[in-house]
Structure formats: C-alpha cells, structure tokens
C-alpha cells in the first residue's frame, strides 16, 4: 500500500497576520510557519493506516511550496517525516503565495503520477491561510480517482476505503474503490506529537525535488483584508437587571440578534 499525503506550510494560527504594502500578500516578517493543522491530522491518519497495513506499506509526503526562510516547504516535509512519513517530495515554488489552486492540484497530480501506483491520497480539508478548499477535489479529478471531502473517519479493507464524513451536522458513510483521494477534518485522527527519535531520523530521510513548470493560471488574488481587530469587551451590569441593556446592545449595536 502506498499513501501520499499532501501538506502545506501555513502561518501559525496564533500568529498575528499583517498584510503587505501591495495589499494582496501577507507580510511574512516575524510570522512563524507550521505544518497545516488539518494536513498534520492527515499525516497522523496515514501513519496509523500504514502501521495497520504492516510490511511494505509506504507513506510519502508531498508539498508544493517555497524554498526559503520561514516558507521553506522542506521544513514542513521534515515535520511530516518526524511524524513517521517515509520520504518526501518537494515541488519548489517560490511564488507559492496566492497560487491558483488548479495549478497546485496539477503539480501534485504530476508528482504523484510520476511515482507510479498509489492506493490513497490524503490531505487536509483546507489550508488555513487561503482557505480555498479546492485542491482535494481537483486532485481527485486530475488523478481520475473517486474523492471525498471532510472525512472524520477512514478505514481500509479489501481494496476499498470506507469514509465517514461530517456534513452539516449529519454523518454520511461513503465507500470508495481504491485508489482514492480523501480530504480530512480535524477529527480524522488524534493529534500526534513527534517522538524525539523520529525527529532525528527525519533529518536523514530522503526528500526529492520534483520540478513543475508553474504558470499563473486564470486566478489572481487582488486584495486581502485581515479580519477587523477585536473590540474591547464591555460589562453592562450584573444579574437579571442587566439583561434588557444586554439585549439592546446585541440587537442594535452588535446587530447579532434579529427577529
């Protein structure tokens, strides 16, 4: 069994993001980049599937991304290797920010096809920076494989993947014939922390470069606005006496209540 996991270097969700002068890129100075949190769960799931499958199973982490500084995708591939992936593939792209998701999906598909057979491609449901949520399904189409998004459970048996997905409060179970593409929610796997030995071993595991001729595609991010600064809280009073004022403020000032 051969499982590919696609991972992306994204800004730490705790980082305070500023927009660059040009108004459409983030200012990376002082921002820490991490392995995408959904991607990290996908890696954890891939490792547990590999462990369950036993001998001969392989997990390959693939990332398209920058090669320098904090955006260096190789560092995030090493995170995946430290969690237990066997080797990595880097598709260098120093213009990765705001890259057309279709281009990303094409590059990943090309890198995966170049490896030959695969059983499963796993990825996070979305990258927490641009939140496009589109690479997974596009990758399914490009690889000609069935695809399911938002998985919270995944089991493999007899050439099939049984996927539980959470959608709008209901649970759905889908059976896919392998090879397949699955994008996962946070609950797909428990959070996994790297073991010290694995961190050290990761430094020695191979990461191969895969070249892709990037184009701009038909997609341009023209503006990026950070969410508004949170406003200071307000204590309106105490006990039942304060309820009318609270109601008033919620309805008329915050406009969070409507009837």
């Amino acid at each position: 069994m051969r499982i590919f996991v696609c991972v992306k270097a994204v800004p730490d969700t705790a980082a305070r993001i500023k927009v660059d002068k040009d108004g459409s890129h983030i200012d990376p100075s002082g921002v820490k980049f991490v392995l995408g949190p959904y991607d990290a769960r996908a890696v954890a799931k891939a490792i547990s599937l590999k462990e369950a499958a036993g001998d001969g199973a392989e997990v390959i982490a693939v990332s398209a991304g920058g090669t320098k500084g904090e955006r260096d995708a190789k560092k995030r591939l090493k995170d995946a290797l430290a969690l237990g992936a066997d080797r990595g593939i880097l598709i260098p792209d120093d213009g990765c920010e705001n890259r057309d998701p279709l281009e990303v999906a094409k590059a990943l598909a090309a890198a995966i096809k170049a490896e030959g057979e695969f059983s499963l491609v796993l990825l996070g449901r979305t990258a927490v920076d641009d939140q496009a949520m589109s690479v997974g399904p596009m990758l399914g189409a490009l690889l000609g494989a069935p695809c399911v998004t938002d998985a919270v459970g995944l089991e493999i048996a007899g050439g099939k993947a049984t996927v539980t997905r959470a959608a709008e409060g209901r649970q759905q179970t889908v059976e896919l014939t392998l090879p397949a593409v699955v994008s996962g929610q946070r609950d797909l796997a428990e959070e996994k922390y790297p073991k010290l030995k694995e961190i050290l071993k990761a430094g020695k595991k191979p990461i191969a470069d895969f070249a892709y001729a990037w184009t701009d595609g038909g997609y341009t991010v023209t503006a990026l606005e950070p969410p508004p600064e949170p406003v200071a809280g307000k204590i309106v009073g105490e006990g039942p006496d304060a309820v009318p004022e609270l109601f008033n403020l919620l309805q008329n000032e915050a406009k969070k209540l409507s009837f």
Binding site: K78, D79, A82, L196
Partner: protein, 608 residues
C-alpha cells in the same frame, strides 16, 4: 499561545550564530530547528498549563507514606515518556539518543521556563541514568539504567542527612554486606527530591552509605542502587524493599516537586546494590552532582528568562504616569511604563542577566560535547575549563537568575506581589537554586580553593588570556563601535588578575579564614567577567548581521531603522544588551574586587 513566552529567537541565536553549534555537533540546522520547535510545542501544551496549578496544589502525602502529585503532572509525564524526551543524553546501548549536552541545555531551558517543578522529576532521573551509563556494571545498566533512560522509573540522589548537609562525609547511613553486590542498607535521608510519588511505579534511589568498617569521612562512602520495590524474576517491580517516606517538606517554592524524608531499612529489610567499588561513592555521586549543578544554574537562568518575558509584556501594557521627558509638567498623555527609564533599566537588567546565563550554559554544554570527542592535551584543557565553569554555572547562574526574577517582579509594582500575575511564583521557585546541589557558599569555596588555587591559577589564567586576546583582536571590529565596552572588559580582566595575586598571597601565607571570606565575591567577580565576555562576543556577531542588513552607523538613526522590524530590532537590542551589561552590571566588579582585596577581618573578629 505560550503562557510564559519562550525566548526561542535568542536560544537560536546563541546556539547557531554565536556558538556555531552546527559545526561542533555534526547535526544539521534543520534537525536542530525541528528539535527546538518540537520541544517548544511540548512545553507549551503540557507543562505551562500545570505550572501555576501545581504550585497552588502541591504534593500530598498520605498516612501510609504514599505521595500524590498535583493534577496534570501524570498526563504531562506520560507525554514526556511518550515523546522520548527523557532519553536525550544516554547512550544508545541503554536505549538513549546520545544527543549533545548543548541541546540538553536548550531543552532544559524550555522545560524549566515552563515548569521548574516538573523538571525536578525529569532532570534527576536523567542524571541518574547518565551516571549509571558511565559507572555501573553492564547488568545494572540493563536492569535499572534502561528504565531510567526511558523515564518509566524515577531516579533520586540521596546524600543529605539531618547531620550531613554540606558536610556529606558526616553521613551515618550504613551498609552491611550480604553477598555479591547485595547489601543491607539502614539510615534516614532528608530533603530527597522525588523520593516517593505516584508518577512512576518504581523509584530507584542512589544512596550514599558507609559499609561497616570503612573509613570515616567522605572517602569511606559507597553508593548503592536502592529500589522502592524489589524486582521479580522478569525484572518487574514486585515486593516492597523496606523504603518508607516518613514525611514531606512544606516549602517556599517548587511546590509541584516533592521533597521527602526517606527511611531505608527501618525493619531491617532494605536491600541495595553496590555501584562500582567500595569507597567510590563520592566520586560516583559527583557524576550526578556535576550534571545537576549545571541544571540548577539553568533553573536560575530559565526562570529569569520567563520572568523577563512576563515583565516585558506587562511593561508594554500597563499605562501609568507621564513621560519624565516632559519635565515636572503632568501631561495629559499617559504612557506605558516601558517608557520610564527606571523600568527600562530593570527590564534590561533581566534581559542581560538571563541572556548572559543562557550563553554560559549552552557554551558549557558545548565544551562538554567537545571534551567527549577530544583526546590528550586538548581533552584535559577542555576538562579544566569545564571544571572552572561548573561552580560558576551553578552559583552565578542561580544568583543572577534569582536577582533577575525579583527585578522582574518589581516591574509589576503591587501586582507582581499577587499570585495572579505569576511572577512571584518564579521568584519563589528560583530561590532554591541558590541552596540545593551544594549551597552557593560551597560553590564559591569549590571555585576559589579547588578550581583556582588548586592548580595555582592555571585554568583561570587560560580563561583570562582568552578574553584578553578577544579584546585585542576586536578593538576595531564593527568600526570600533564596541571599543569602550571592550576596553572596560579588559580593565575588569586586569582586576581579576590583581585580586588573584592578593588572594594567592593570603592563601600562600596560610590565611585560610581570610581567603575564605573572599570566596563569594570572587565567584561573582569571575562570573561577571565571563558574562561580559560572552555578551560582547554576541554583540560582534549581531553587529555583523546588522552590517549585512544595511544598518546605519549612527545610534539614533539605527534605532529608528530597527523600530517595528523584528529581526533588525533583535540584533540592535543584542548590541545594546552587551553595552548595558558591561556598563551597568560588570561595573559591579570594582566593588567586588575591593571586597576581595581589602584586609578587613571584621566578620571574623566580631563577637556575635
């Protein structure tokens, strides 16, 4: 988000840019980075959340002698084992990772800065395992060592008795030979860290005791492995070994760490296993102590780093008063207290002390790594230096660390005295570092009498010559921008030479009492010079980075250029930190030198 912001940028600067650890350690930077990141994640997720609650709850002893640790410790400790963080240092043959000591110093700072009390469980176990890897028999290593390496069992060091504190040789615990390496142990040890608790199923005590008939004093002591539970045929803890926790201390700080009174062999049924040979107890125990002395110095340093981080954050948020630049006028505009010069002085004191301490501790770690790889004259040179630095790491690290914690507390005004702001806990936790693992007074005597007088000043001179050579080489570096600081450093190097000459005479004249009076100021004197040296080295590295980034030469222009840029301001502040240390803290040495040199015997003569 960290509760106690970790000083990762300066750690990386110290490790990679200043001390160039990648070259010395043969590990690539990405791997080291990943190690630091993973360590930072671990402490932020599992240790920082239990630091305050563990302080408030403390450990509980029950009537049957068992002890329960504070909430959250068990979960954190399970993660510590699971992540293999305990096994960093031990050799692969015992299941360890054989990582360099310099990295252990980095990890220790992260752990202690997040929860000092937790480190007491973990650090001692590691030190016991490392000792066993060097001094125990193969069978002992496999039976006891492996479980300490993995941290599944707890290790302790048992020296202190009611009548044997600083004077370890006064120990009255006895050992009676049964057969082979087996002995019957009897005695009571006090102040034993982690002597009994429910974090691990087994506690393995390293106990100093005297075999019947052996000489009095420390040379007659032997060291034994004394488990809480004896093992069954499969090596699993099975039957009680007559080891009883008779009480625990109520302490000023480190409440999450349990300090026990341990009774061994009250009912004549306590078995221990001799490590090495009879009479080697002290020398073997020193394997643990030397490692722990560095760890304890790091406790001071790391807590200072956390206290500084909390104080800095608070000083930027707390609005109080107007700027003194406006003269006596009370202006409308109120400022954050970081605008007040006296608050800045306090913050810079904490920053400079914690960063100098960090540099000293990582450097000492690297020297240990280099010594392990060296041979012949190079190895003895490195070992001399490590020997000289060990009491300084311990006493200077804990003393300046504690000072920095109280200074940081002062930044908070009245809020600092209140638990909610967390900094008073750091003060209480840091204070013990000046006491245990050999009091700072004992460290000062070790430095002056053994490490300096013991080799007629050779190791000290080597160090001072190195600093002088550094000054001579760099007078004009960075366009002479650090000329004043380097000259001041050289002046203080000269001062240490002078003090040593005076003390050598006193010593040579057999005036032991007069010499001993100077021990503590002498340790501060040498510690400060090393701190100044390391921070000046860092300032030159930072100057080079600033030049590369096109920083203006003029100080005011540079300040403006750096404002708002994280990397620029990091390097700019490194340079100013070295300046501050040399002019404001190292200048203390003129006073310290006077204390050493003066022929004042009042402390000896007073009838008190």
């Amino acid at each position: 988000m960290s509760i106690y912001p970790l000083q990762l940028r300066d750690l990386r600067f110290t490790l990679f840019e200043h001390l160039e650890a990648t070259e010395h350690l043969g590990l690539d930077k990405d791997t080291l980075d990943a190690f630091i990141d993973a360590g930072a994640t671990f402490v932020s997720e599992f240790l920082q959340p239990i630091n305050q609650s563990g302080d408030q709850e403390g450990c509980t002893r029950h009537e049957d002698g068992t002890v329960t640790v504070a909430k959250g410790y068990k979960e954190a400790y399970a993660q510590w084992i699971e992540g293999e963080w305990g096994s960093v240092r031990a050799p692969e043959s015992m299941g360890g990772q054989e990582l360099p000591q310099a990295l252990v110093s980095v990890l220790d700072e992260l752990v202690i800065a997040s929860c000092c009390a937790f480190h007491n469980f973990a650090g001692l176990t590691r030190a016991c395992a490392n000792m066993l890897s060097r001094r125990a028999s193969e069978a002992q290593q496999q039976t006891w060592g492996r479980k300490l390496v993995s941290a599944e069992w707890q290790g302790t060091m048992c020296l202190t008795e009611a009548g044997a504190g600083s004077d370890v040789g006064a120990s009255v615990t006895t050992a009676k030979h049964i057969e082979g390496d087996r002995y019957l142990i009897q005695g009571e040890k006090v102040f034993i860290t982690s002597g009994e608790h429910d974090l691990t199923p087994q506690v393995v005590h390293m106990v100093l005791a005297r075999v019947e008939g052996d000489k009095p004093g420390s040379k007659g002591l032997s060291i034994f492995i004394v488990p809480k539970l004896r093992l069954d045929a499969d090596g699993n803890p099975a039957t009680p070994n007559d080891v009883f926790c008779a009480g625990i201390e109520e302490k000023m700080g480190i409440h999450g760490s349990v300090t026990t009174t341990m009774k061994f062999g009250e009912n004549g049924g306590c078995e221990g296993y001799l490590i090495g040979e009879r009479g080697q107890g002290i020398s073997i125990m020193f394997e643990i102590m030397n490692e722990e002395r560095i760890v304890v110095g790091q406790q001071g340093q790391a807590l200072a780093a956390s206290a500084y981080a909390l104080a800095l954050k608070y000083a930027k948020e707390r609005i109080q008063g107007s700027s003194i630049a406006a003269g006596k006028r009370i202006t409308q505009e109120k400022v954050a207290i970081i605008e007040h010069p006296d608050v800045r002085r306090m913050l810079m004191t904490c920053k400079a002390q914690s960063e100098a301490g960090r540099a000293l501790l990582v450097l000492t770690g690297l020297l240990i790594d280099r010594s392990e790889a060296a041979e012949g004259e190079e190895r003895s040179r490195l070992d001399r230096r490590i020997g000289l630095l060990t009491p300084i790491c311990k006493a200077w690290g804990s003393e300046t660390g504690f000072q920095a914690c109280t200074t940081a507390m002062q930044v908070f005004g009245g809020y600092g005295y209140c638990k909610e702001y967390r900094v008073e806990q750091l003060v209480r936790d840091a204070r013990i570092a000046c006491v245990y693992e050999g009091t700072n007074g004992i460290q000062a005597i070790d430095l002056l009498f053994r490490k300096v007088a013991g080799d007629r000043g050779a190791a000290l001179r080597e160090l001072l010559d190195e600093i002088q050579a550094f000054v001579d080489q760099n007078q004009d570096a960075a366009d002479g921008r650090l000329k004043d600081e380097l000259s001041a450093l050289a002046k203080h190097v000269g001062e240490v030479h002078e003090v040593f000459a005076v003390l050598a005479q006193r010593f040579g004249g057999g005036d032991m009492l007069g010499s001993a009076l100077a021990a503590t100021p002498f340790l501060a004197l040498v510690g400060n010079v090393i701190g100044g040296y390391l921070l000046c080295q860092q300032a030159l590295v930072a100057e080079a980075a600033l030049a590369e980034q096109g920083a203006p030469a003029d100080a005011a222009a540079r300040r403006e250029w750096a404002e708002g840029h994280e990397e620029r301001s990091f390097y700019q502040a490194k340079v100013e930190t070295a300046r501050f240390f040399v002019h404001q803290l190292l200048s203390e040495n003129s006073w310290r030198a006077a204390q050493c040199k003066v022929d004042d015997r009042s402390a000896l003569q007073a009838v008190i």
